[in-house]
Symmetry: C2
Subunit: 309 residues, 2 copies
Amino acid sequence: MVNGEKYVSEEARQAVEEAIAQVGYVRNSAARNLVKQESRAIGLIIHEPHSLLFEDPNIGSILLGANEVLSKADYQLVSLIIDSDRDSRRVADYLRGGLVDGAVIISARASDPIAAAVAEIGLPAAFVGHPDGTPDLPYAAINNEEAARNITGRLLGTGRQRVGMIASALDRDSGQDRLAGFRAAMGGKFDPALVVEYPLYTYAAGLEGMQELLRREPAIDGVFAASDAVAAGAMTALQEAGRRVPEDVGIVGFDDSSWALRCRPQLSTVRQPADLLGSTAAELVLAQLNGLPGTPRVLDTTIMWRGSA
Amino acid sequence: MVNGEKYVSEEARQAVEEAIAQVGYVRNSAARNLVKQESRAIGLIIHEPHSLLFEDPNIGSILLGANEVLSKADYQLVSLIIDSDRDSRRVADYLRGGLVDGAVIISARASDPIAAAVAEIGLPAAFVGHPDGTPDLPYAAINNEEAARNITGRLLGTGRQRVGMIASALDRDSGQDRLAGFRAAMGGKFDPALVVEYPLYTYAAGLEGMQELLRREPAIDGVFAASDAVAAGAMTALQEAGRRVPEDVGIVGFDDSSWALRCRPQLSTVRQPADLLGSTAAELVLAQLNGLPGTPRVLDTTIMWRGSA
DNA sequence: TTGTAAGCGTTATCAT
DNA sequence: ATGATAACGCTTACAA
């Protein structure tokens, strides 16, 4: 009897399995999520100005870094991009709706609506970077001010007399802090006339910015560009203007992105561990999911000294 | 009585609204999706080799293009990246689970597991590009073979005698087709010794590839690089070897990405409408969601003739 | 108009 | 062990 039963259930199992394969049964995640009250998905919110999605190689690294740790913990990373106010609302609804268990927010600006929404609904989340004016959430960041101060100091150490800066993205913490660091390193030598500002970290900003700087001060002999892309543009402008790098003017950047090795001479720059930034932020979210505090982390940067200064 | 009822319900409504605001009620999307049998989300699967996420500016454009049309139709675009076999399985489960109503697949390779899974579960989907060996799904693509043939022809038209190619990504349709186009344009002049192959569309591939080509044939006077990034690397190698571009050797690329304008001289290249590719693929998915056929579309490319050849 | 109940596809609990 | 049943939070159709 027991045997019989077993036998029958064996047969039934096979039949069922066959039926499953033929009918193509797949369990419905919406139903599963509903009853389990979790989705095992983490949202990653990308809120970049249009052009940066193409020019900034950091975001790819951040993404991959976050994906790696989430994948290991068996969470699905879902990236949500915000490119309009409409997107902003829809994404907020998406996060609110319980479709994700947590979120990592990259490149938030002061008073970011998404960050506010996340905080309001109490979703476990973490920033990459830590803009002020945003809710009190843990973050993974670097010390932009310190790094900028260090590399500017190093540039000054090569004996430059008239050094300027091409600042960018002043609406974000990274942009602000890099400028602050530059200013601090310059001390009494700081001259507001030698800093130009552009909204985005782009090659074009570097190109124009350097031309403007050259116009304002032909004797300029050092430049700190707010990012490698900017530095690359500046180098082109310099070379087209007949200045030799680094003999006539020394130039340093920030990021150590693929731009740096691509320049001739190669860029002296600040290396920031973009992939670590992503993975650390992801860990911060995971920690909160496990009831742990999730304390902010600031990661180390190092100076990569190459040929451009 | 009726008045009384109304009054009460008014009061109740206010109370409820207040309670909602205080308690922070938000409706649960899982439950909604369950009953409505739809998620109003579309997945975008990114299956790029690690390094390309940083070097290929096309994918950002594709993403933005897709997001724009989906956003207008009130669909949430969710990007899922695949960076390991584990990711591959998890993403397949995600798609199967009914968490998205459709999918656009970019940079699929022959016999892509995700593409197979999508086809198997009958999810409305579209490719960007159309690798062969993949299931019969609509796609948005360009004619890589034709475009490569045209620009190679144009290069030949400048009187070059010994022209080579730096081919890349031969595991994908784009890579294969660009090589085929080159070969077709060369006709009897085609010399297998003058084509080098690299796995990825990268700056590094261009750098090394050009050095190798120079070694094999010092008299080389023309090069077709499989992408702008590759062309940029090739140009650097050429200039470091003391060759003038375009006087000594002419060089053409493919993509018209931001690389093209960044080179000195600027690159002659094939412009492909990456954002349109994304938006068209998204439209193809939307069409299927509305019960329409969703027929493949091949978009036009144009030659941007600049200073490099 | 307002309210009530059934049902979506799971999981988990509690009898059998 | 195995099977029936409630519950997850929402929408919708139908009754009052």
